[in-house]
Amino acid sequence: MSNIAIRAEGLSKRYKVGKQEKYRTLRDTLTQCVTNPFKRKPNGNSQGEDWIWAIKDLSFEIKHGDVVGIIGRNGAGKSTLLKVLSRITDPTKGRAEIFGRVGSLLEVGTGFHPELTGRENIFLNGAILGMQRVEILAKFDEIVAFSEIERFLDTPVKHYSTGMYVRLAFAIAAHLEPEILIVDEVLAVGDLAFQKKCIGKMNDVSRAGRTVLFVSHNMAAIENLCRHGIVLAGGKLVFDGQIKDASAYYFNSLAPASNPDGHVFDLSNARDRISRVGKLLKKVELLTEHNRPVNEGVRIGDRLKVRIHFDLPSPTTRFNIGLGFNNAFGQRIFTAHSLFEAERSDEEQVGAQIFVCDIPSFTLTQGTYTARLWLDIANTEADLIEDAMRVDVIESDFYGTGKVPWNGSFVLPHRWYLEPEDSAVHQGQLVGAVPGELYGSDL
């Protein structure tokens, strides 16, 4: 009992959506009182289109010292859950018991005022985050050192670059020492160096035995930091368990539902789609050598042919398709694009088309990849689908030496040899030589 940090039971929160204007005016309400005093506001019931449940019936337990990653698509309810747990908004139903001081990082630089200097903002932001003044004074030098803005401490923050701003904001937040830390995608801002610093700091926090709730789309960060994972979908809790299992569950739910023809992806009901012109992308098929359908996956280095069925509403020559392959961490490994094709025909096309992307050797390493597919017509994005298709790369002996490649995102053909001592290169006689000539043409 005493080692529970957060216990949630049936937490639910609903919001009004729709045609309802956000701000009522006093004038309208008063005139309504006079003209129609007995009119009751139509009380939105949860079934009506007026309400949406951002989170529904969430029940879970988080123990002290747990580092929990909360994952889900955009709109799954992650930020709402954090807001409810941070007491920024009240739940509509349900309850949560929180044992310990909560520090919420829902945004970096909350309350920063552009007219105040960096020094003044440290005190302001620190107080807003819940630090006592003595605490801020004690940690002041550390905060300044972490943020690397000593020189600009007494300049108004409005003159800071975005990088400085974000570093200072995170430096202050990083020195918050609550028992329960709630972090919402703050890693999305900042450059790589900054993100590494953030992750490092969060690692320190978790090693110090504090409880951390972490929302991010950076799957690599989540898998590294967290032990426990909760997956939200459509406001409901769909998975609660080890982080690796949670992330696998989430990743599997992204790609379209499995079908008996594993190599065909019907795009008519694709989610995560932006169709500026229309649902022009119809279907994707995966084939390999000799046009064999890819049902189980491809081996490293096998040929991959992506047959894309789409529609062109009016005759044009200016159309292009892009195919971006992302790994399980959501990182883009490779982008194929018809713009890179040298031999495009310049005939006008219209109506149903099949565009084939032929990759002679798909040298990504073993794993599951999803692909973003988009169609541009005359330089405007006509139809875009995230995670349109999924391809599994199976480990295989790419180099033909009985050893299966491991690690890394892709494989590259390469050779190893010891340099003979009597070669010209070894004796430093490279000046004037053309590379390649020295090594012969077999490389």
Partner: protein, 269 residues
Amino acid sequence: MVVVEPRKGFDLRLKELWNYRELLFILVWRDIKVRYKQTALGAIWAILQPVLATVVFSIFFGRFAKVPSDGIPYPVFAYVGLLPWQLFAYALNESTNSLVSNQNLITKVYFPRLVIPLSAVLAGLVDFAIAFVVLLGLFWRYGIVPSASLVVLPVFILLAVASALAIGLWLSALNVQYRDVRYTIPFLTQLWLFATPVVYPSSLVPEKWRALYGLNPMAGVVEGFRWALLGKAANPGPLIWVSAGMVVLLLLGGVIYFRRMESTFADLV
């Protein structure tokens, strides 16, 4: 242990405010610092406003219209009335939009939202203090020495802050829901000024109406200030009690209404 659940009823949670007093002070500090960094006139404005107003009132109301001033030199009479009035008007103005303009805090951090209109009102105390110093100068110029009734001054200062806060709570909470409220403030302030005995004494109001007149909380506050600082022979009696009662009522009602609406702020603001 903290329980997060749908808020019900009359849970005022005033003790929590004490825990967040540092945040309150720092927000007041922020408002004052920013205001003085941005204005060219800076602290002068705190003096200029009441002084200029007094000059204009003295000319038009004091001399031309010959409004009586209970035997006190008109400029002093008007200034003493303006002192709490400015605090009140400042609070009306700043607190109405305080929640909306601090929307970035309300949607991202937890703290008792009462802190925000409270900080707006307290920031006005700085101007009040500066204007008070000018009052001392006025006293010296007109050779007025405060009498024993000075001892009740702190009470009326408290009453002034309380009435500013009371109205501030109502207005700031209403403004989150009905955004047109803040546009009524300049108009409201003007009307209220004339309904308050700043430019004229309350003795102008017929005896039988005077208690009703006290329903304006600022009426009691202003007359109370005059009594404390200028030691008028006849203390206005019932007027002040009615006003004080109104302040307490409005403040209590304001806190309750504010607390009830508080859970919707993060969603509406």
